[in-house]
Amino acid sequence: MNARVQNKNDPWLHRFAVLTAIITFFLLGLGGLVTSHEAGMSVPDWPTSYGYNMFALPIKFWKGGAFFEHTHRLLASGAGFLTTILAVWLWLKDPRKWMRWLGVTAFLLVVAQGVLGGLRVTLKMNDLGVIHGVVAQSFFILMCAIALFTSRFWVNWSAGEKVFCVTRGLWTLVLAVTVLIFCQLMLGATMRGQHAGLAIPDFPAAYGKIWPATSPDAIAHYNAQRMDVNGENPITAFQIVLQMAHRIVALTIFILVAAGAGLSWRQLGGKNPLARLAVFWLVLIVCQIALGAWTIWSNKAADVATLHVMVGALSLVTGALWCIIAFGRQAGEATIAPAGRISGAFSVSPSVAANK
Protein backbone atom coordinates (compact mmCIF):
# COMPACT_ATOMS: atom_id res chain seq x y z
CA MET A 1 0.00 0.00 0.00
CA ASN A 2 1.56 3.29 -1.01
CA ALA A 3 1.30 6.69 0.71
CA ARG A 4 -1.35 7.99 -1.66
CA VAL A 5 -3.77 5.20 -0.84
CA GLN A 6 -3.00 5.45 2.83
CA ASN A 7 -4.14 9.04 3.22
CA LYS A 8 -6.57 9.54 0.44
CA ASN A 9 -9.56 8.42 2.44
CA ASP A 10 -9.06 10.55 5.50
CA PRO A 11 -9.04 14.27 4.78
CA TRP A 12 -10.73 14.88 8.12
CA LEU A 13 -7.69 13.52 9.91
CA HIS A 14 -5.59 16.09 8.08
CA ARG A 15 -8.03 18.87 8.90
CA PHE A 16 -7.99 17.86 12.53
CA ALA A 17 -4.19 17.82 12.54
CA VAL A 18 -4.17 21.31 11.02
CA LEU A 19 -6.64 22.51 13.67
CA THR A 20 -4.42 21.09 16.42
CA ALA A 21 -1.37 22.79 14.92
CA ILE A 22 -3.24 26.12 14.73
CA ILE A 23 -4.38 25.80 18.34
CA THR A 24 -0.79 24.98 19.29
CA PHE A 25 0.37 28.13 17.51
CA PHE A 26 -2.10 30.28 19.44
CA LEU A 27 -1.15 28.48 22.64
CA LEU A 28 2.45 29.37 21.95
CA GLY A 29 1.39 32.99 21.48
CA LEU A 30 -0.60 32.96 24.70
CA GLY A 31 2.43 31.53 26.50
CA GLY A 32 4.41 34.41 25.04
CA LEU A 33 1.85 36.85 26.43
CA VAL A 34 2.16 35.24 29.87
CA THR A 35 5.91 35.84 29.90
CA SER A 36 5.62 39.28 28.29
CA HIS A 37 3.22 40.32 31.04
CA GLU A 38 5.44 38.75 33.72
CA ALA A 39 2.36 36.77 34.75
CA GLY A 40 3.75 33.23 34.88
CA MET A 41 3.51 33.02 38.66
CA SER A 42 0.26 34.93 39.11
CA VAL A 43 -1.67 31.74 39.89
CA PRO A 44 0.55 30.02 42.48
CA ASP A 45 -1.14 26.63 42.50
CA TRP A 46 -1.45 23.90 39.86
CA PRO A 47 -3.35 21.93 38.60
CA THR A 48 -5.89 23.90 40.61
CA SER A 49 -6.22 27.64 40.12
CA TYR A 50 -6.53 29.67 43.34
CA GLY A 51 -7.73 26.44 44.95
CA TYR A 52 -10.55 25.99 42.42
CA ASN A 53 -10.91 23.32 39.79
CA MET A 54 -9.12 24.91 36.85
CA PHE A 55 -12.23 24.73 34.68
CA ALA A 56 -14.46 26.27 37.33
CA LEU A 57 -12.45 29.33 38.33
CA PRO A 58 -14.94 32.18 38.83
CA ILE A 59 -14.63 34.85 36.18
CA LYS A 60 -14.00 37.54 38.83
CA PHE A 61 -10.48 36.16 39.25
CA TRP A 62 -9.64 36.41 35.54
CA LYS A 63 -7.90 39.75 35.95
CA GLY A 64 -4.47 41.23 35.49
CA GLY A 65 -1.70 38.67 35.07
CA ALA A 66 -4.04 35.88 36.17
CA PHE A 67 -6.11 36.41 33.00
CA PHE A 68 -3.16 35.46 30.79
CA GLU A 69 -1.93 32.61 32.99
CA HIS A 70 -5.36 31.07 33.45
CA THR A 71 -6.41 31.31 29.78
CA HIS A 72 -3.02 29.81 28.90
CA ARG A 73 -3.80 26.86 31.16
CA LEU A 74 -7.26 26.42 29.64
CA LEU A 75 -6.01 26.60 26.06
CA ALA A 76 -3.18 24.21 26.98
CA SER A 77 -5.77 21.77 28.29
CA GLY A 78 -7.65 22.14 25.01
CA ALA A 79 -4.49 21.56 22.99
CA GLY A 80 -3.71 18.51 25.13
CA PHE A 81 -7.21 17.17 24.54
CA LEU A 82 -6.96 17.68 20.77
CA THR A 83 -3.52 16.08 20.69
CA THR A 84 -4.84 13.06 22.56
CA ILE A 85 -7.67 12.64 20.04
CA LEU A 86 -5.20 13.07 17.20
CA ALA A 87 -2.88 10.43 18.65
CA VAL A 88 -5.74 7.96 19.06
CA TRP A 89 -7.02 8.75 15.57
CA LEU A 90 -3.60 8.19 14.05
CA TRP A 91 -3.15 4.98 16.00
CA LEU A 92 -6.48 3.61 14.82
CA LYS A 93 -6.65 4.88 11.27
CA ASP A 94 -3.23 5.63 9.88
CA PRO A 95 -1.64 2.51 8.39
CA ARG A 96 1.86 4.01 8.53
CA LYS A 97 3.51 2.61 11.63
CA TRP A 98 5.88 5.54 12.02
CA MET A 99 2.92 7.94 11.89
CA ARG A 100 1.21 6.08 14.70
CA TRP A 101 4.28 6.43 16.83
CA LEU A 102 4.58 10.05 15.84
CA GLY A 103 1.10 10.51 17.31
CA VAL A 104 2.17 8.76 20.50
CA THR A 105 5.24 11.01 20.65
CA ALA A 106 3.01 14.07 20.29
CA PHE A 107 0.79 12.82 23.10
CA LEU A 108 3.75 12.18 25.42
CA LEU A 109 5.29 15.53 24.55
CA VAL A 110 2.11 17.47 25.25
CA VAL A 111 1.73 15.71 28.60
CA ALA A 112 5.37 16.42 29.46
CA GLN A 113 4.92 20.03 28.39
CA GLY A 114 1.86 20.44 30.60
CA VAL A 115 3.66 18.93 33.58
CA LEU A 116 6.69 21.14 32.89
CA GLY A 117 4.48 24.22 32.91
CA GLY A 118 2.85 23.11 36.15
CA LEU A 119 6.14 22.28 37.85
CA ARG A 120 7.57 25.63 36.80
CA VAL A 121 4.82 27.19 38.93
CA THR A 122 4.73 24.84 41.88
CA LEU A 123 8.50 24.34 42.19
CA LYS A 124 9.12 28.04 41.45
CA MET A 125 11.90 27.08 39.09
CA ASN A 126 12.54 29.82 36.60
CA ASP A 127 14.81 27.65 34.46
CA LEU A 128 11.93 25.26 33.85
CA GLY A 129 10.13 28.19 32.24
CA VAL A 130 12.89 28.46 29.65
CA ILE A 131 12.74 24.70 28.97
CA HIS A 132 8.93 25.00 28.77
CA GLY A 133 9.35 27.63 26.06
CA VAL A 134 11.83 25.54 24.08
CA VAL A 135 9.70 22.37 24.30
CA ALA A 136 6.75 24.44 23.07
CA GLN A 137 8.68 25.26 19.89
CA SER A 138 9.60 21.60 19.39
CA PHE A 139 6.00 20.52 19.92
CA PHE A 140 4.81 23.07 17.38
CA ILE A 141 7.22 21.63 14.80
CA LEU A 142 5.91 18.15 15.54
CA MET A 143 2.27 19.20 15.14
CA CYS A 144 2.99 20.98 11.86
CA ALA A 145 4.89 17.91 10.64
CA ILE A 146 1.92 15.67 11.46
CA ALA A 147 -0.35 18.09 9.62
CA LEU A 148 2.03 17.90 6.65
CA PHE A 149 2.27 14.09 6.70
CA THR A 150 -1.50 13.73 6.70
CA SER A 151 -1.99 16.16 3.82
CA ARG A 152 -2.79 15.42 0.18
CA PHE A 153 0.25 17.52 -0.72
CA TRP A 154 2.50 15.09 1.13
CA VAL A 155 0.86 12.10 -0.55
CA ASN A 156 1.44 13.58 -3.98
CA TRP A 157 4.90 14.67 -3.00
CA SER A 158 5.80 11.23 -1.70
CA ALA A 159 4.37 9.70 -4.84
CA GLY A 160 6.89 11.76 -6.77
CA GLU A 161 4.50 13.52 -9.11
CA LYS A 162 6.79 16.54 -9.10
CA VAL A 163 10.13 14.98 -9.63
CA PHE A 164 13.18 17.10 -8.95
CA CYS A 165 16.19 17.09 -6.72
CA VAL A 166 17.65 19.49 -4.22
CA THR A 167 21.40 19.74 -3.96
CA ARG A 168 22.86 18.30 -0.81
CA GLY A 169 24.55 21.64 -0.22
CA LEU A 170 21.24 23.52 -0.27
CA TRP A 171 19.51 20.97 1.94
CA THR A 172 22.37 21.07 4.42
CA LEU A 173 22.32 24.87 4.39
CA VAL A 174 18.59 24.99 5.16
CA LEU A 175 18.96 22.38 7.87
CA ALA A 176 21.87 24.30 9.43
CA VAL A 177 19.91 27.57 9.40
CA THR A 178 16.88 25.82 10.92
CA VAL A 179 19.08 24.53 13.74
CA LEU A 180 20.51 28.03 14.11
CA ILE A 181 16.98 29.46 14.35
CA PHE A 182 16.21 26.91 17.06
CA CYS A 183 19.33 28.05 18.94
CA GLN A 184 18.22 31.65 18.41
CA LEU A 185 14.81 30.84 19.91
CA MET A 186 16.55 29.24 22.89
CA LEU A 187 18.59 32.41 23.25
CA GLY A 188 15.40 34.44 23.09
CA ALA A 189 13.71 32.20 25.65
CA THR A 190 16.72 32.59 27.94
CA MET A 191 16.55 36.37 27.57
CA ARG A 192 12.86 36.38 28.39
CA GLY A 193 13.48 34.00 31.26
CA GLN A 194 15.83 36.51 32.88
CA HIS A 195 12.83 38.74 33.65
CA ALA A 196 15.09 41.73 33.27
CA GLY A 197 13.21 43.60 30.57
CA LEU A 198 15.33 45.10 27.86
CA ALA A 199 19.02 44.70 28.61
CA ILE A 200 19.71 47.13 25.75
CA PRO A 201 17.06 49.80 25.19
CA ASP A 202 18.11 51.08 21.75
CA PHE A 203 18.45 49.67 18.24
CA PRO A 204 20.31 49.43 15.88
CA ALA A 205 22.91 50.97 18.20
CA ALA A 206 23.45 49.52 21.67
CA TYR A 207 23.61 52.23 24.32
CA GLY A 208 24.61 54.50 21.42
CA LYS A 209 27.53 52.31 20.36
CA ILE A 210 28.24 49.42 18.05
CA TRP A 211 29.23 47.33 21.08
CA PRO A 212 28.10 48.59 24.48
CA ALA A 213 30.36 49.00 27.50
CA THR A 214 29.89 46.24 30.07
CA SER A 215 32.19 47.43 32.86
CA PRO A 216 30.74 47.49 36.39
CA ASP A 217 30.52 51.29 36.24
CA ALA A 218 28.67 51.15 32.93
CA ILE A 219 26.24 48.53 34.24
CA ALA A 220 25.60 50.64 37.36
CA HIS A 221 24.90 53.64 35.14
CA TYR A 222 22.48 51.69 32.92
CA ASN A 223 20.59 50.42 35.96
CA ALA A 224 20.38 53.88 37.50
CA GLN A 225 18.77 55.20 34.32
CA ARG A 226 16.33 52.32 33.76
CA MET A 227 12.80 53.29 34.76
CA ASP A 228 10.39 50.50 34.08
CA VAL A 229 6.88 50.06 35.38
CA ASN A 230 7.57 46.35 35.74
CA GLY A 231 10.61 47.22 37.89
CA GLU A 232 12.46 44.12 36.83
CA ASN A 233 15.71 42.74 38.12
CA PRO A 234 18.76 44.91 37.52
CA ILE A 235 20.47 44.04 34.27
CA THR A 236 23.88 42.41 34.16
CA ALA A 237 26.77 42.34 31.68
CA PHE A 238 25.76 38.77 30.81
CA GLN A 239 22.30 39.92 29.74
CA ILE A 240 23.77 42.63 27.55
CA VAL A 241 26.09 40.14 25.87
CA LEU A 242 23.12 37.79 25.45
CA GLN A 243 21.13 40.42 23.59
CA MET A 244 24.13 41.32 21.43
CA ALA A 245 24.54 37.64 20.57
CA HIS A 246 20.80 37.53 19.70
CA ARG A 247 21.30 40.45 17.31
CA ILE A 248 24.38 38.94 15.66
CA VAL A 249 22.70 35.55 15.22
CA ALA A 250 19.65 37.31 13.75
CA LEU A 251 21.82 38.98 11.13
CA THR A 252 23.55 35.68 10.37
CA ILE A 253 20.18 33.95 9.97
CA PHE A 254 18.98 36.68 7.62
CA ILE A 255 22.04 36.32 5.39
CA LEU A 256 21.84 32.52 5.34
CA VAL A 257 18.09 32.42 4.69
CA ALA A 258 18.50 34.95 1.88
CA ALA A 259 21.21 32.70 0.43
CA GLY A 260 18.97 29.66 0.84
CA ALA A 261 16.03 31.40 -0.83
CA GLY A 262 18.25 32.61 -3.70
CA LEU A 263 19.71 29.15 -4.24
CA SER A 264 16.29 27.50 -4.09
CA TRP A 265 14.93 29.91 -6.66
CA ARG A 266 17.91 29.41 -8.95
CA GLN A 267 18.05 25.63 -8.63
CA LEU A 268 14.36 24.78 -8.53
CA GLY A 269 12.70 27.58 -10.44
CA GLY A 270 10.10 30.05 -9.23
CA LYS A 271 7.16 27.69 -9.64
CA ASN A 272 8.58 25.03 -7.36
CA PRO A 273 6.82 24.87 -3.98
CA LEU A 274 10.10 24.56 -2.13
CA ALA A 275 11.46 27.68 -3.82
CA ARG A 276 8.28 29.54 -2.91
CA LEU A 277 8.49 28.25 0.64
CA ALA A 278 12.06 29.49 0.86
CA VAL A 279 10.99 32.96 -0.30
CA PHE A 280 8.16 32.92 2.24
CA TRP A 281 10.79 31.97 4.83
CA LEU A 282 12.88 34.99 3.87
CA VAL A 283 9.84 37.25 4.20
CA LEU A 284 9.21 35.80 7.67
CA ILE A 285 12.81 36.49 8.71
CA VAL A 286 12.57 40.09 7.51
CA CYS A 287 9.32 40.51 9.47
CA GLN A 288 10.97 38.89 12.47
CA ILE A 289 13.90 41.29 12.42
CA ALA A 290 11.48 44.22 12.09
CA LEU A 291 9.49 42.86 15.05
CA GLY A 292 12.69 42.49 17.06
CA ALA A 293 13.51 46.13 16.41
CA TRP A 294 9.93 47.13 17.23
CA THR A 295 10.12 45.17 20.46
CA ILE A 296 13.02 47.37 21.53
CA TRP A 297 11.56 50.64 20.24
CA SER A 298 8.29 49.89 22.05
CA ASN A 299 10.20 49.19 25.28
CA LYS A 300 9.17 45.55 25.03
CA ALA A 301 5.44 46.12 24.65
CA ALA A 302 3.82 42.80 25.51
CA ASP A 303 1.87 42.37 22.27
CA VAL A 304 4.85 43.23 20.07
CA ALA A 305 7.22 40.97 22.01
CA THR A 306 4.67 38.17 21.72
CA LEU A 307 4.34 38.66 17.96
CA HIS A 308 8.12 38.39 17.85
CA VAL A 309 7.88 35.02 19.61
CA MET A 310 5.14 33.80 17.26
CA VAL A 311 6.87 34.80 14.04
CA GLY A 312 10.03 33.21 15.43
CA ALA A 313 8.10 29.96 15.85
CA LEU A 314 6.76 30.24 12.28
CA SER A 315 10.29 30.82 10.98
CA LEU A 316 11.51 27.72 12.74
CA VAL A 317 8.64 25.59 11.48
CA THR A 318 9.07 26.85 7.92
CA GLY A 319 12.71 25.81 7.88
CA ALA A 320 11.89 22.47 9.46
CA LEU A 321 9.09 21.72 6.99
CA TRP A 322 11.33 22.69 4.07
CA CYS A 323 13.92 20.18 5.28
CA ILE A 324 11.28 17.49 5.77
CA ILE A 325 9.77 18.01 2.32
CA ALA A 326 13.16 18.02 0.63
CA PHE A 327 14.44 15.08 2.65
CA GLY A 328 15.36 12.14 0.47
CA ARG A 329 15.50 14.34 -2.62
CA GLN A 330 19.08 15.50 -2.25
CA ALA A 331 21.52 14.98 -5.06
CA GLY A 332 25.12 15.93 -5.64
CA GLU A 333 25.87 19.38 -7.05
CA ALA A 334 26.87 17.99 -10.42
CA THR A 335 23.54 16.32 -11.03
CA ILE A 336 21.46 19.46 -11.01
CA ALA A 337 21.50 22.31 -13.45
CA PRO A 338 19.93 25.71 -12.71
CA ALA A 339 16.14 26.01 -12.55
CA GLY A 340 15.64 22.35 -11.82
CA ARG A 341 16.93 21.05 -15.12
CA ILE A 342 18.35 17.73 -14.15
CA SER A 343 21.43 16.57 -15.92
CA GLY A 344 23.70 13.61 -15.73
CA ALA A 345 23.05 11.02 -13.08
CA PHE A 346 19.65 11.37 -11.46
CA SER A 347 19.10 10.51 -7.87
CA VAL A 348 15.64 9.28 -7.11
CA SER A 349 14.55 9.10 -3.52
CA PRO A 350 13.44 5.74 -2.15
CA SER A 351 9.85 6.94 -1.78
CA VAL A 352 9.76 8.04 -5.41
CA ALA A 353 11.20 4.76 -6.53
CA ALA A 354 8.72 2.84 -4.46
CA ASN A 355 5.78 4.65 -5.99
CA LYS A 356 6.86 4.37 -9.58
Binding site: P44, G51, M227
Partner: protein, 238 residues
Protein backbone atom coordinates in the same frame (compact mmCIF):
# COMPACT_ATOMS: atom_id res chain seq x y z
CA UNK B 1 20.08 36.28 99.34
CA UNK B 2 23.33 38.19 99.31
CA UNK B 3 24.30 36.46 96.07
CA UNK B 4 21.01 37.40 94.43
CA UNK B 5 21.39 41.02 95.49
CA UNK B 6 24.92 41.15 94.11
CA UNK B 7 23.77 39.60 90.85
CA UNK B 8 21.00 42.16 90.44
CA UNK B 9 23.50 44.93 91.17
CA UNK B 10 25.93 43.52 88.62
CA UNK B 11 23.23 43.27 85.93
CA UNK B 12 22.13 46.82 86.77
CA UNK B 13 25.64 48.20 86.47
CA UNK B 14 26.26 46.26 83.26
CA UNK B 15 22.96 47.41 81.81
CA UNK B 16 23.60 51.02 82.80
CA UNK B 17 27.01 50.77 81.22
CA UNK B 18 25.48 49.59 78.00
CA UNK B 19 23.00 52.44 77.91
CA UNK B 20 25.68 55.00 78.68
CA UNK B 21 28.06 53.70 76.07
CA UNK B 22 25.61 53.06 73.26
CA UNK B 23 25.09 55.88 70.80
CA UNK B 24 23.11 56.62 67.68
CA UNK B 25 24.46 57.05 64.20
CA UNK B 26 22.43 59.75 62.52
CA UNK B 27 22.63 61.46 59.19
CA UNK B 28 21.00 62.84 56.11
CA UNK B 29 21.06 61.40 52.62
CA UNK B 30 21.10 63.85 49.75
CA UNK B 31 20.73 63.33 46.04
CA UNK B 32 22.61 65.52 43.57
CA UNK B 33 21.59 65.77 39.97
CA UNK B 34 18.31 65.14 38.25
CA UNK B 35 17.03 61.57 38.39
CA UNK B 36 15.23 60.07 35.40
CA UNK B 37 11.52 60.89 35.32
CA UNK B 38 9.28 58.39 37.08
CA UNK B 39 7.02 56.35 34.84
CA UNK B 40 3.25 56.58 34.94
CA UNK B 41 1.77 53.27 36.11
CA UNK B 42 -1.74 54.44 35.21
CA UNK B 43 -2.02 53.14 31.65
CA UNK B 44 -0.84 49.67 32.60
CA UNK B 45 -3.04 49.63 35.70
CA UNK B 46 -6.10 50.77 33.76
CA UNK B 47 -5.54 48.24 31.01
CA UNK B 48 -4.70 45.23 33.15
CA UNK B 49 -6.81 45.79 36.21
CA UNK B 50 -9.48 48.50 36.10
CA UNK B 51 -10.52 47.62 39.66
CA UNK B 52 -7.09 48.83 40.81
CA UNK B 53 -7.36 52.04 38.79
CA UNK B 54 -10.79 52.65 40.32
CA UNK B 55 -9.15 52.93 43.75
CA UNK B 56 -7.63 56.27 42.71
CA UNK B 57 -9.30 59.60 41.97
CA UNK B 58 -9.46 60.52 38.30
CA UNK B 59 -6.09 61.82 37.08
CA UNK B 60 -4.32 60.71 40.26
CA UNK B 61 -3.04 57.34 39.20
CA UNK B 62 0.33 56.44 40.70
CA UNK B 63 3.79 56.54 39.18
CA UNK B 64 6.87 54.47 39.95
CA UNK B 65 8.84 55.48 43.06
CA UNK B 66 12.41 54.64 42.22
CA UNK B 67 13.79 58.03 43.27
CA UNK B 68 11.94 59.60 46.21
CA UNK B 69 13.55 63.03 46.44
CA UNK B 70 12.56 66.17 48.37
CA UNK B 71 12.81 69.74 47.03
CA UNK B 72 16.32 70.18 48.45
CA UNK B 73 17.57 66.80 47.40
CA UNK B 74 16.45 64.95 50.54
CA UNK B 75 16.75 61.37 49.46
CA UNK B 76 14.35 58.78 50.89
CA UNK B 77 14.34 54.98 50.67
CA UNK B 78 18.09 54.60 51.15
CA UNK B 79 18.94 51.62 53.35
CA UNK B 80 21.71 52.41 55.85
CA UNK B 81 23.42 49.68 57.84
CA UNK B 82 26.63 48.70 59.58
CA UNK B 83 28.62 46.67 57.13
CA UNK B 84 29.91 43.33 58.32
CA UNK B 85 28.04 43.30 61.62
CA UNK B 86 26.48 39.85 61.84
CA UNK B 87 25.28 37.42 64.46
CA UNK B 88 23.66 40.21 66.47
CA UNK B 89 20.10 39.72 65.33
CA UNK B 90 17.35 40.28 67.86
CA UNK B 91 14.77 39.52 65.17
CA UNK B 92 13.11 36.69 67.07
CA UNK B 93 11.99 39.07 69.80
CA UNK B 94 11.53 42.17 67.65
CA UNK B 95 8.01 43.35 66.82
CA UNK B 96 6.87 42.24 63.36
CA UNK B 97 7.34 44.53 60.41
CA UNK B 98 4.33 45.14 58.18
CA UNK B 99 4.21 45.23 54.40
CA UNK B 100 0.79 46.32 53.18
CA UNK B 101 -0.83 45.99 49.78
CA UNK B 102 -2.92 49.07 49.30
CA UNK B 103 -4.16 50.64 46.11
CA UNK B 104 -2.47 47.78 44.24
CA UNK B 105 0.91 48.98 45.45
CA UNK B 106 3.20 47.72 48.17
CA UNK B 107 3.64 50.07 51.09
CA UNK B 108 6.36 50.75 52.00
CA UNK B 109 8.22 49.94 48.85
CA UNK B 110 11.57 49.83 50.67
CA UNK B 111 11.71 48.08 54.02
CA UNK B 112 14.40 46.59 56.27
CA UNK B 113 14.06 43.81 58.83
CA UNK B 114 16.28 41.50 60.85
CA UNK B 115 16.95 37.84 60.24
CA UNK B 116 14.33 35.85 62.08
CA UNK B 117 12.04 38.86 62.43
CA UNK B 118 8.46 38.32 61.38
CA UNK B 119 7.34 40.14 58.28
CA UNK B 120 3.58 40.45 58.05
CA UNK B 121 2.14 40.93 54.57
CA UNK B 122 -1.35 42.36 54.55
CA UNK B 123 -3.94 42.77 51.82
CA UNK B 124 -5.88 45.97 52.43
CA UNK B 125 -7.26 45.91 48.90
CA UNK B 126 -10.58 44.62 47.70
CA UNK B 127 -8.88 42.53 45.03
CA UNK B 128 -6.77 39.41 44.94
CA UNK B 129 -2.96 39.56 45.14
CA UNK B 130 -0.27 36.94 45.00
CA UNK B 131 2.61 37.54 47.35
CA UNK B 132 5.72 36.34 45.59
CA UNK B 133 9.10 36.85 47.22
CA UNK B 134 12.14 35.94 45.18
CA UNK B 135 15.24 35.77 47.39
CA UNK B 136 18.59 35.10 45.79
CA UNK B 137 20.60 34.17 48.90
CA UNK B 138 20.67 30.44 49.72
CA UNK B 139 18.74 29.72 52.89
CA UNK B 140 16.04 32.29 52.21
CA UNK B 141 13.04 30.50 50.80
CA UNK B 142 11.02 31.66 47.82
CA UNK B 143 7.29 31.92 48.52
CA UNK B 144 4.35 32.47 46.24
CA UNK B 145 1.03 32.67 48.06
CA UNK B 146 -2.35 33.86 46.98
CA UNK B 147 -4.01 36.39 49.27
CA UNK B 148 -7.70 36.99 48.76
CA UNK B 149 -9.33 40.27 49.77
CA UNK B 150 -9.90 40.28 53.50
CA UNK B 151 -7.77 37.17 53.96
CA UNK B 152 -5.60 36.68 57.02
CA UNK B 153 -2.17 38.26 57.03
CA UNK B 154 0.71 36.20 55.69
CA UNK B 155 3.85 35.90 57.79
CA UNK B 156 7.37 35.33 56.53
CA UNK B 157 10.80 35.16 58.13
CA UNK B 158 14.18 35.02 56.47
CA UNK B 159 17.18 33.41 58.17
CA UNK B 160 19.91 34.91 55.98
CA UNK B 161 20.95 38.52 55.41
CA UNK B 162 20.02 39.77 51.95
CA UNK B 163 19.90 43.18 50.33
CA UNK B 164 16.79 44.17 48.44
CA UNK B 165 14.94 40.87 48.59
CA UNK B 166 12.19 41.36 46.06
CA UNK B 167 8.47 40.99 46.71
CA UNK B 168 6.19 41.14 43.72
CA UNK B 169 2.61 40.56 42.72
CA UNK B 170 2.34 38.76 39.38
CA UNK B 171 -1.36 39.54 39.09
CA UNK B 172 -0.40 43.23 39.09
CA UNK B 173 3.08 43.24 37.56
CA UNK B 174 3.87 46.82 38.56
CA UNK B 175 3.67 45.92 42.27
CA UNK B 176 7.09 45.60 43.89
CA UNK B 177 8.68 45.95 47.31
CA UNK B 178 12.28 45.37 48.29
CA UNK B 179 12.97 44.09 51.78
CA UNK B 180 16.54 44.17 53.08
CA UNK B 181 17.36 41.61 55.75
CA UNK B 182 20.15 42.23 58.27
CA UNK B 183 21.70 40.00 60.85
CA UNK B 184 21.67 42.80 63.43
CA UNK B 185 19.33 45.56 64.58
CA UNK B 186 21.71 48.25 63.33
CA UNK B 187 20.05 49.59 60.22
CA UNK B 188 17.66 52.28 59.08
CA UNK B 189 15.81 53.48 56.00
CA UNK B 190 15.99 57.18 55.18
CA UNK B 191 12.68 59.02 55.47
CA UNK B 192 11.16 61.67 53.21
CA UNK B 193 13.52 64.24 54.71
CA UNK B 194 16.47 62.04 53.87
CA UNK B 195 17.12 61.43 57.59
CA UNK B 196 18.11 58.15 59.14
CA UNK B 197 18.93 56.94 62.66
CA UNK B 198 20.70 53.75 63.61
CA UNK B 199 19.96 53.43 67.30
CA UNK B 200 21.96 52.10 70.24
CA UNK B 201 25.14 51.23 68.44
CA UNK B 202 27.77 49.82 70.83
CA UNK B 203 31.13 51.62 70.93
CA UNK B 204 33.55 50.62 68.24
CA UNK B 205 34.76 51.26 64.73
CA UNK B 206 32.26 50.60 61.96
CA UNK B 207 31.78 50.97 58.27
CA UNK B 208 28.43 52.57 57.56
CA UNK B 209 26.93 51.56 54.25
CA UNK B 210 24.18 53.49 52.49
CA UNK B 211 22.51 51.51 49.74
CA UNK B 212 20.03 52.71 47.14
CA UNK B 213 18.42 50.16 44.86
CA UNK B 214 19.16 52.15 41.74
CA UNK B 215 22.33 53.99 42.66
CA UNK B 216 24.21 51.29 44.53
CA UNK B 217 26.19 51.54 47.76
CA UNK B 218 28.46 54.08 49.46
CA UNK B 219 30.44 53.55 52.65
CA UNK B 220 32.01 55.68 55.34
CA UNK B 221 34.08 54.63 58.35
CA UNK B 222 33.01 55.91 61.76
CA UNK B 223 33.99 55.46 65.37
CA UNK B 224 31.23 55.29 67.93
CA UNK B 225 31.95 56.21 71.54
CA UNK B 226 29.44 57.63 73.98
CA UNK B 227 28.03 60.40 71.80
CA UNK B 228 25.86 60.34 68.70
CA UNK B 229 27.79 60.29 65.46
CA UNK B 230 26.69 62.09 62.33
CA UNK B 231 27.35 60.58 58.92
CA UNK B 232 25.91 62.17 55.81
CA UNK B 233 25.85 60.63 52.36
CA UNK B 234 25.47 62.28 48.99
CA UNK B 235 24.39 60.24 46.00
CA UNK B 236 24.74 61.59 42.52
CA UNK B 237 22.83 60.84 39.35
CA UNK B 238 25.24 61.03 36.42
Amino acid sequence: MKTVALSILAVGIFGAGRIVFAADIIGVITLKGTPPAEVDIGPKMTEASPDCAAMYPAGKLPTTHFYVVGPKGEFADVVVSLKGVTGKSTGASAPPAVLDQKGCLYSPQILAIQTGQKLIVRNSDSCIHNVHCTPTVPGNEEHNDVQMPGAADLTYTFPQPEMFLRFKCDVHPWMFAWVSVFDSPYFSVSDKDGKFVIKNVPPGKYTVEANHRKLGAQTQDVEVADKDVTVNFTFEVK
